[in-house]
């Protein structure tokens, strides 16, 4: 399966899960909405250029916005994730490129600790920005903080569960490919 097809399927799957399951399940608490859709951006191959990343991030967010009827909200947040992603990857991956020959970010490719940091930072960033935009008009700082932390915690839990349940079989990036 080519990267393109694989990622198209992921895109549909993640957005479907976000729209029809995570946004629909009875909320655990009024502060908590779990988010999983941006994992699609986190899982994009390393080879995607930064420009494309931005466009894909924007598009992903906007598609979700169409379903949730909030034009621009998720687009802004996932765009931020897409923009920060390459910088984080350069910081967290080994400099020596011979050790580093997987296609896309995964616990296997980056080791568990760097991968966890990668997910943690981006999730926190996504939620902070999203909740910040949501609460721009009203709400106290305390509830803003609680919402960010609680949603981040739940989303992280979900993402790690997904990682453990569906370990991706990643091919090595070979010279021929």
């Amino acid at each position: 399966m080519s990267d393109f097809v694989r990622n198209m399927i992921r895109f549909i799957l993640f957005l479907g899960i976000q729209v029809y399951i995570l946004n629909k399940i009875p909320h655990l608490h009024r502060y908590i909405t779990p988010y999983l859709y941006f994992l699609f951006i986190l899982w994009l191959p390393f080879s995607v250029s930064r420009q494309w990343l931005l466009l894909i991030g924007f598009g992903t967010g906007l598609t979700l916005d169409y379903f949730t009827m909030t034009p621009g909200l998720h687009a802004a947040a996932s765009l931020l994730v897409a923009w920060v992603r390459p910088y984080l990857i350069t910081i967290l991956t080994p400099k020596d490129s011979t050790e580093f020959n997987y296609r896309e970010p995964s616990p296997k490719a980056m080791q568990w600790t760097p991968y966890f940091v990668y997910v943690l930072v981006l999730t926190l960033l996504h939620h902070t920005y999203l909740v910040f935009l949501e609460w721009m008009s009203f709400g106290s700082f305390l509830s803003f903080l609680i919402k960010v932390l609680a949603s981040t915690g739940i989303s992280l839990l979900l993402i790690l569960t997904v990682e453990l349940l569906f370990p991706r079989k990643l091919k090595f990036r070979t010279n021929t490919a």
């Binding site: 420009q51 931005l54 169409y66 009827m69 034009p71």
Partner: protein, 292 residues
């Protein structure tokens, strides 16, 4: 000038990030409700179509609950039907506390209780249904059971505190009094135990005209069934050569294969009617024991 291009080239990622971020924020803040509605109009077509497809699946999960709601509404409505009430005799006024009267003096004859089928068979020759209402909910023996569309299903034959057994119409010992809607002729509904899709209606005299597709209703003389509820339609008209009666094959309108919700109908005068019936029989048929 060259420096500007160099600057753009160097920071093109950051710049496009800023531009897209600006677009997103512009979407978010500059669109008021009216614009938002128009902006989402086109996308709505797409998401709406996807949502419709999803809903088709999702609805099935809600079906049970929805069904229960509809059934409850039906129950409250069926209790209001005029057939449940009898005209009082104008010259004689009965006072009975146990029967609720309405403002016109009609008194209630039938009372409907909703129930859910918890067990159901159609394969045996003696088919019983089990419903989740029992003696503690006021169910008694010999109450009629109607499907959620008002079609006859069976008669309660056994009661435990929380459940009841219902003898289905698909039971070889079952005999339900039925009448043809068109002519009003009354007969007995039975089942020969062969085909669960066909019941037999017997003792309709051959003098009446019966056609395929005629409606068969519960009869007004039945002690347990309220009158005028559908039992089925005539599927085949056979004549019994030896007697002067038809044997009518009836296609039951209750779908015994997929029963879910039912009504248990209580004839509030059942005890009185049956006791009278028995006493009369006893007195007339054994006049020596009980001289008049």
């Amino acid at each position: 000038m060259r420096n500007i291009f160099l600057f753009i080239g160097r920071y093109k990622t950051f710049l496009s990030f800023l531009i897209l971020q600006g677009v997103a924020l512009w979407f978010l803040f500059s669109f008021n409700r009216f614009h938002r509605a128009r902006f989402l109009g086109v996308a709505n077509e797409v998401t709406g179509r996807i949502n419709t497809q999803y809903n088709k699946v999702e609805d099935y999960f809600e079906l049970r609950e929805e069904n229960r709601r509809v059934h409850r509404i039906n129950d409250s409505l069926l209790n209001l039907l005029p057939q449940n009430f009898m005209q009082p005799d104008t010259s004689l006024r009965e006072v009975r506390d146990s029967l609720p009267f309405d403002s016109l003096g009609h008194y209630r004859r039938y009372y409907f209780r909703p129930a859910t089928i918890v067990y159901n068979t159609v394969n045996s020759q003696k088919n019983y249904l089990q419903i989740n209402r029992g003696a503690s909910h006021g169910i008694k023996d010999n109450m009629a059971v109607l499907g959620s569309d008002g079609s006859a299903v069976g008669v309660v034959v056994g009661v435990s505190p929380n459940f009841s057994q219902v003898m289905s119409l698909l039971h070889v010992d079952q005999k339900v009094s039925a009448s043809l809607k068109k002519s009003g002729d009354m007969g007995t509904m039975e089942w020969d135990g062969k085909d669960p899709r066909l019941l037999n209606l017997k003792s309709i005299p051959r003098s009446t005209e019966v056609k395929q597709g005629d409606t068969v209703l519960t009869s007004p003389t039945s002690f347990n069934f309220p009158p005028g509820y559908m039992i089925g339609t005539v599927a085949e008209v056979l004549t019994d050569k030896s007697t002067n009666f038809y044997v009518l094959k009836i296609k039951p309108s209750a779908r015994f294969f997929s029963l879910q919700q039912v009504f248990v109908v209580e004839n509030l005068q059942y005890a009185e009617q049956t006791t009278l019936n028995q006493n009369t029989r006893k007195r007339i048929e054994d006049p020596k024991k009980n001289p008049r």
